[in-house]
Subunit: 598 residues, 2 copies
């Protein structure tokens, strides 16, 4: 039975020491509530809730799953009570506007809490997590009345929300969607259609569920330009704001799936359900894209969560499990064998997990800081710059963090040997739960196209430059820094190579658009490794400063430097394979005629 | 619901066209029954059995799993009946000696059948599969009486067998095992102890189960030199050879695990069970190592199986699923969207799976040919050479094939997008079932140590040279071959680099033994990619010959060449990352003190 410990020390390291969140919060107008004391108290309280309330439900959720009946969906034992505590603790309202009952704290604070929740119990976390999409939609596009009716209930956590996008025949290609919304005389709409893969689509944890549904008006143009957004509540609101009569929307069945068993993945049937248009007609997709970045960062976070859990579990086991002797002589001479952490290949796996967990945490906090700036900064230039940078980083956060999170989850299993395959230890659940993160909210392939096609090439490389400039400046500043001499030359060379590779792909793409799709995933992974190299070098800077100052936490800072060394020597070389694959181009990918595949 | 088709065309390609099995069988003494007609009839019949009888039980097995009760273990619906058909068809006896009721056919024929069984239903295939360990033990080390009593029943399939090695506190490190065997006045032993992870340890498919148990005699030396082998039957044999009275061995519980739900993974309790010593006392581990190669090849095969299933499933879906338009204009203009096989990233994933499935099949047949030679050749020199080559290849077959098989299984899920996560399609089960293959029969890390430490460095590189010479000769022969000009220079350079890397590691290892463990997994994967490059180049040779001859199967042979191109351009560059990691050495792996890991 795995035990979850919130990684508070490391969170404080990236938050306070690496990125100076104290000054960051102080610089944002209206964020004065986010004092260091307040921020840290929230972290402590959040950690307690996650460790004590929801982490113990993680295996329960996997084992029991959700149960469907005509009356609705029952969540695993304890999920509902935990949610009640969550609402009573005021957690849903953390980063929302005071006018809707929110606490008006920065979005990045919510992101930290999301990390802890995700690590403790990803399936449970999806219920409140899914509400965010609905809240963002209502916040950005709802009428004051809609906000009053729905947003306040979502902010308080009394109701939860969903995003109903996918249909059986269309996931990525939303232009094909068929769900219809027919206008009624009273200004409402009758929504009819079937949606699938609706996470938290039906459950017993809250009084009402606010579905945000993509559907077509009768006269809508074909394709993505004919999609509108509708609010379709599970229960129609009464005049006093409470949940009233059931609407004609129901969960037809639950999917049987590889993991995240504790979350209900619903087929939702809309049978002329009453809906309310939100935002302008036929602009539904545009409305959604305005907050796609935050949603995708929230999914990227899942990769971090699974890497952290894998590392915690594997480290515990590697210290306890006695098996074989070290090749350089017994390290535990009084025991029957040495703990497996002495073996180089076990260390290789542990360090890989550690490098991804801590590196990706830094990436998350980096993105979170820019998300705060986009939302709150008074300086328009700064807002714009952060928005562009965030747009560039988002597909990397989503795809690179989840790909490496899945790798880490599998290494977690591998460290346990045969025991890793056994459910009791929790490591195999971690793999199964993590697998979805490479698929939903846009697959790795889709993120890669977004990065290389939409973000980089469509801006003629401007968005890439926005980031490589940051790295370049860092390298320039530390070019003669003795403490960073093992990192700066490599980082600097890669930063340059990144630009050159981009130009090469761009040139080829002008002749053949398949070059973009053929290079995209390799390009995204290459980019991710360089981004993490920058962050690891920056973490070394902080750690070595602390060591030079004579910090009492020598072990903590030394291990930061050593993890960075491992990252630079044993992980960063992956860029060279991705580079070769990018340069190899589209020919070998596109040559085979469809008939000859088999 | 996935549908399995035995890949007969590709099997015939590697068997007949690439490796000339007809001549191979004809050259082996006593293998005259293996005529081309006979061999192909067995393939056809085997394919029918696998497609029609056991493939339909694959999802059933996953869903139902096995059920434990005091009386024993019940296998999933249909498993028992399928096994009955398997026995009636004479399948268990294929490659066994006629004196024990076998058909005396070559081991490689059995391997082909194992591929088909493994692809159709790995969990089911483990029941007859596990018997092989027991049969090999009895064949090599049993007395004539033991062979008469047990081997004939295993060969006929009336009884099945297991290998009882692992205990709760020891898996890899068998020297720590505690199960005891106390000699009795009648020459038998009382075996007492607990074994875990015993695949097919208890089930309802056969009348009796023959456990081969590792245990210690009372006076045994400590460690691996004090382990003996015992036969412990579930039911003691009657004088007429039938299964009689229950022995004091029982299944205490079943493990809950990530995959292979259809196979019973048992905790086995031996409570003074009657056992019979097999082989010399205290030489149990040595006895087992004599046939470890074939057992590990049998597990390596699992990687091939999952890659094939992933490819079949993903290809079917990629042709049917309509989503988005090709970047170079509609390919299915009359439909609402193009089939996703038009998209470069989907093709990248399909070609990766194809390259691994077909490349690993070639590797399996290559190893199988040498296994036949070891077993049957009249020429001692040839036997010795094949044995050395097989010893070298075995850890690569086991670990590289399962690692790439797991990768392919995950790509199978990825091609389905969100649907890949849903059980119905079978792709997620394929991932779960494949995950164990990296763990049992020696983890990837253990295989890697076996390859680099035991096989390569302990022979001063001789075993590596045995293989690089083969590649070198091939390159020499085809150095001016226009048809192979895109492959030979790359292959030749890697073959040389492989040797150089080995020398480098060997030099470092003389100073620091941790260098071996730190480089091992990268070295193994590097080796696997080079081995497959050789096999792909050889497949191109055959395919281009056929095309030059004007074969009517232009599509088949062209796709072989195109898959090789993809392999060389998009997969082989992975060697460069592994090379860099090998060269980076042990320092960053070993530097961190255990206390500082977290």
């Amino acid at each position: 039975m795995p035990e979850y410990k919130a990684p508070l020390r490391d969170i404080r390291f990236v938050r306070d020491e690496l990125f100076g969140y104290q000054e960051h919060y102080a610089s944002l107008p209206g964020m004065d509530e986010a004092t260091p004391d307040m921020v840290d108290a929230i972290l402590e309280e959040g950690a307690k809730f996650c460790e004590q309330v929801i982490a113990p439900l993680n295996q329960v959720g996997d084992r029991e799953g959700c149960t469907w009946s005509e009356e609705g969906v029952t969540t695993p034992n304890g999920f509902k009570e935990a949610y009640q505590q969550f609402v009573e603790g005021g957690w849903p309202s953390l980063a929302h506007e005071p006018e809707f009952g929110g606490q008006g704290l920065p979005e990045s604070l919510n992101l930290v809490m999301s990390e802890l929740i995700g690590e403790a119990n990803w399936s449970w976390g999806m219920y409140p997590g899914l509400s965010h999409g609905a809240m963002n939609t209502l916040h950005a596009h709802g009428t004051p009345e809609q906000q009053q009716t729905y947003l306040t209930k979502l902010v308080s956590g009394e109701w939860t929300g969903t995003m109903c996008l996918t249909e059986p025949h269309c996931g990525t290609d939303l232009g094909m969607l068929r769900t219809k919304a027919e206008p009624q005389a009273d200004g409402t709409y009758k929504v009819t259609g079937t949606k699938i893969f609706i996470s938290a689509g039906e459950h017993d944890m809250a009084d009402n569920i606010v579905h945000i549904v993509l559907a077509r008006l009768p006269d809508a143009p074909q394709g993505t330009k004919g999609i509108s957004l509708f609010i379709v509540p599970k229960c129609l609101p009464n005049d006093d704001g409470s949940a009233g009569e059931r609407n004609a929307v129901s969960c037809g069945s639950l999917e049987h799936k590889m993991g995240i068993h504790g979350n209900s993945t619903c087929v939702m049937n809309f049978d002329g359900a009453t809906g309310y248009l939100i935002g302008p007609p036929n602009k539904g997709l545009n409305c959604m894209f305005t907050f796609m970045n935050t949603a995708r960062i929230g999914t990227g976070l899942q990769g971090l969560a699974h890497a952290e859990i894998a590392y915690q579990g594997a480290l515990r086991y590697a210290r306890e499990r006695l098996q074989m002797r070290s090749l350089t002589g017994p390290k535990n001479p009084d025991g029957p064998a040495d703990p497996i952490i002495v073996h180089p290949d076990v260390r290789r796996m542990l360090l890989t997990m550690k490098a991804f967990a801590e590196g990706n945490r830094a990436l998350l906090f980096y993105a979170g800081k820019h998300a705060d700036i986009v939302q709150h900064s008074a300086d328009e230039e700064e807002r714009k710059a952060s928005d562009a940078l965030l747009g560039f980083l988002t597909p990397i956060v989503k795809a690179f963090m989840t790909e490496t999170g899945f790798e880490a989850a599998n290494l977690g299993v591998q460290c346990y040997g045969g025991h890793g395959f056994i459910s009791e230890w929790g490591m195999e659940q971690n793999v199964r739960d993590s697998r979805i993160s490479l698929l939903y909210e846009g697959t790795t392939g889709i993120q890669a196209l977004d990065l290389l096609g939409r973000k980089v090439l469509m801006t003629q490389g401007e968005s890439l430059k926005g980031f490589t400039k940051v790295v370049h400046k860092f390298c320039q500043k530390h070019v003669d820094d003795e403490a960073l001499k093992d990192y700066i030359p490599k980082l600097s060379a890669l930063n340059k190579e990144w630009g050159e590779l981009t130009v090469k792909v761009g040139m080829k793409a002008m002749k053949n658009r398949e070059e973009v799709g053929s290079a995209a995933v390799d390009y995204l992974m290459y980019s991710g490794y360089v981004v993490l190299a920058y962050l690891w070098a920056d973490m070394v800077r902080v750690a070595k400063d602390k060591l030079a100052e004579g910090s009492t936490e020598e072990g903590f800072y030394t291990s930061k430097v050593q993890t960075a060394d491992f990252y630079f020597q044993k992980i960063l070389p992956r860029t060279q394979t991705h580079k070769a694959c990018i340069e190899a181009g589209a020919e070998s990918v596109m040559a085979m005629s469809e008939a000859h595949f088999g």
